[in-house]
Structure formats: C-alpha cells, structure tokens
Amino acid sequence: MNGLFTELPVLLIVIPLAGVPVLYFTARRGLGTALPALAVILFVVILLSSGARDAMHTPVVTAAGGWQPDLGIGLQFDLLAVAAMLVTSLIVAQAILSHDETSGAQHFRTLLMLLYAGSNGLMLTQDLFNAYVFIEITSIASYALVAGKQDRGGFESAFKYVVMGSFAGLLVLWGIAGLYLTTGTLDIQSLASRFEAAPGAVASLSAAAVIAGLLIKLGQVPFHAWKADSLSGASYTVSALLSGVTTTAFFVLLLRVLSALPSLTVSLAPILTTIAGLSIITGHLMALRQPRYSRLLAYSSVAHVGYGLLAVSSGAVTAIAAGLFHILVHAIMKSGLFFLGRSFLHTGNRSDRLEAIVFPEQHRTLHVTLYVLLAMSMIGIPPVLGFTSKWYAVLETARAGYDTGAALIALGGAVALVYYLRVGLQLVHRGLPELSSPGPASKRLPVPIAGTALILLLAAFSDRLLGFCVLAVVQLMETV
C-alpha cells in the first residue's frame, strides 16, 4: 500500500474541509460554486473507489499526525465507511445540483461542504472525543442550513433544532468523559477490551449516555418531535440532507459504538428494541395525521430509522447488515422524495400543506411517475430497492428471534401505504391552482430522476448489496 492510501482517511476529511474556505471566497467573488463543490465530491468518490479494494481485505487505519491511539486519533477506512460515504456523497452531489446559481445557493454550498466534511469524519473516526467534535461540526452546519431559508419558520425551526441538538451533544460529552474516567481511553478499539474490566455502573451509564445522545440525534422516541419541526422549517434540499446524510452518519457512529460494547449492547437490547418499536409505531401513526408534506416525510423517517435500530438491537450479524442496508436505501429514497418536493415550488405555491401541493403542468406525468416509484420504495412494494431492503430487514429480524419486531416492520408498510396513497391521489387528481405569479419551470428535475433511477437499477443487485453490508458488519466486528 503506498503513502497516499495510508493517508486516505485523513484526505477524505481534509479535502471537503479545504473546500469550505475555497467555496466561501468563490461565493464572495460572485463566481460559481457548483463546479468546485462537485469537483471536491468527485475527488472524494475517486479516492473512495480506489481505496475500496484495499479496504475489502483489511481496513486502512491511520494514526493522525503519527500519534498512535490512545494518545493520538485513529481514523479507520473500512467497508462500512465506503458504503455509507458513497451514499452520502451521492446525496450531497444531488443537493449541490438542486440549486441555481444564486448568492443564497452559493453560501448554501459552503455550509454543505462543512456538513460533508463533518459527516465524513463521523463515519471514519475511531476516537470518541474526535467523534464529538465531528458531531458538533455536522450539527452546527445543519443548524445554519435550516436557518438558511431566511423566513420565520426557518429561524424558529433552527432554534428548536439547536436546543435539542446541543442537549444531545452535551449528553454525548458527559458520556465520553465518564468512559474516559472509567476506562482511561477514548479509542473505540481499545474501549472494546477495557470496558469489560471497568467498574460497573459509571461505565455503563456513561456508555448509555453516548448511545442516548446519538438516538436523540437520530430522532428516536421519545425525542422525535424536533425532527418534524426542523425538517418542516427547512428548505426541501436541506431536509433531504438532514434525512439522508446526517442520519446515515449518526447511524454509522452508533454502529461503531455498539460494536465496541457487545456486553452492554446485549444488556441494552430490550431497551433499544422498545425504543425502536415505539419509534416505528409513533413515526407511522404521526405521519398519518400530518397536514404537511415535509412533516409527513419527517415522521416517516423516525419510523424507518426505527427499522434499522430494531435490526441492529437484535445483535445478529445478518440482521445488523440488513438494518444498515435499509438505512442506506432509506437515505437515497427519502432524499429523492424531498428533492422531488422542490417541484411544488415551481407552481408558485410556497405552502407544503397536502391540500395545496401540486406538480407543475410541465412534465407532470414524469413528476407523478417519480413520486409513485419513490413512494413504492418507501412503502416496500416490488420491484424497487425499498422493497428488498425492507424484506431483508423483516426476514433477518425474524431469524434473530424478534418476531414481533419483524411484524411491526411489515405492518409499518401497510400504514405507510395509506399516507403515501393519500398524497399520491392528491397529486394525481388535483388540477393546477389559479396562481397570480407561477414560478419558473423546473430545471432541476434530473436530481430526483437520478435517485429514482438508482433505486430501480440497484434493485437488480440487492443480493450483492446486502452481501457487501454483511462483509462490512463482519469487518466491523472483527476489528474491535
């Protein structure tokens, strides 16, 4: 392995981070930011693809600055990171393309690059305190992006989000301090061996605090309300990022923490299963009664993350892999639905209330087709990728002995059918409203087309994709 690949995990964080000031100054000078931002993502994806072959055999572990863990910070580039970062890179690229070259869009891309750097760091780091720093980088970029809508709802939503997010961040910090006190290490790999020997209650409570902080960040019950409030106040593009990129990054970090603490995971399994089950029920039932498109999708996300958590809490390798697979697929399809929501704005209507949303006359059939395919994927209807990911989640959760959980996942699809059908019928039957100043025709339709095409095409390779996730989880278990 040559020098470049040894430093690969560092580059995957540093390159987007270096892109932040570059994009900021490009935006200030009034130059386009789309191409530089896309170039950064392309470079990251090339690095990811070229390093994936090496990661297949053994993870690339880098000690940042030459300082070995425990003193230094370890970054691990493994199959888990490859899978998750490919998905998040795709969503970030879609978000960049979904905006026109306005000054707002240029500042948006600068913050987006910060979010991208932070989420990459979250998925690569092996150091708990470093993870806390990346949690805050990702979160601060998210708060600013939510506020970026520059209206009443945006500021209010951003404040709610920042209060809840900061509380979760502090909980993680408390947990990390407690884990360091009892185990003397911040390195996730060393934690795996030292946690067992650590004095009982403090170590367990600290680890539980870290896990609780991450569950709040993932919007799980009982801390789920902020998710709908934040996503409904943000623009559709930012909502796509929050439900795709940040959710995936926090889920990957949760997987790393849980895999390092197997004994605690077993003890916490009943609690995690209960939280996941309640999130599935609450998410779907709340989605049923939402009057707004973005809030409906947000509550649906609460339920889908619950699917992933339920599969992970079962502890079986194949179930964890199925949970991871579903979270990655969910990121693509949910962000696709949010990107598609941008088309509602092209009718000149700013409201996302269900009785008001309508696709523009131009390419209306194509819009409806995209919605139907994405909704089918969310519900779990063949032949799209959402069906296979959900099928594996049900199957593997049941195999792990969680029959009730598997039934909940399957029933969740039936409830989802009702609310997605309600929106679909609205979009198909409702005529174009009489508006005084209709907006410009959508020039960004290829963005949701790309996501939809992907969930159709990748459905043919579901077995291989699940196999890749199984390999990633096995590698994760072996390295701790």
Binding site: F155, E156, F159, S166, L170, A177, Y180, A228
Partner: protein, 113 residues
Amino acid sequence: MIVLTIGITCIALTGIGIYGLLRRTHMIRMVLCFNILEAAALLGLVLIAYSPDARSPILRAATDAHVLPLPHALALTAIVIGASLTALMLTLIVRVHRSHGTVLVDKLKDWRG
C-alpha cells in the same frame, strides 16, 4: 474534600441546567441554561484529571507527578465548541425576535408543531 466539593457543584449545575431548559420559556435564559450545563460538563472533565498531589502537566523533571493533560485539552476544545454554539443560538434569537417580535417560546405560533 476538593473532589467532593467539585463533584457536588457539578451535579448541582447539571440539575439547574436541565431544570432551566425544561422550565424556562425565554430564549436567552434557555441559552444560559445550556451554558450552565456545558460548564458542568467541563468541570467534570477537569475533575477527571485532578489528582491531589500532582502539579500542572508541564514536565520539569521526568519524575514529576502531574495531572492528566488530556481532559484539559478536551475541555479546551469543548469550550470552543460551546462558544460557537452560543454565538449561533444568540444569532438565531436575534433573527427570531426580528421576525416574530418575541423571544418567548410559548408565544411562538409553531413552537409546538
């Protein structure tokens, strides 16, 4: 004794911070409660490093007993993050006040969803 005092202070600050976050409706006070909670976490980090007979972690001789330097470095980083978050929260409060004319969360129309 000093460990006990700091420990009790730490727990008391956490209680005050959580109580304030749950009970207060004034946005500025909510930010202050967040800062109190953060101070409790920082105090906890310093407490982890504390050792009664140790000096500050600047080695004068190899045999010097010194406190753990790592939690102090962590506390410094957490202070920077906390300051950034506070600045962002205050900025948002200014914008909310401009758009809604209030900083009381119970007066905000959409606060409860």
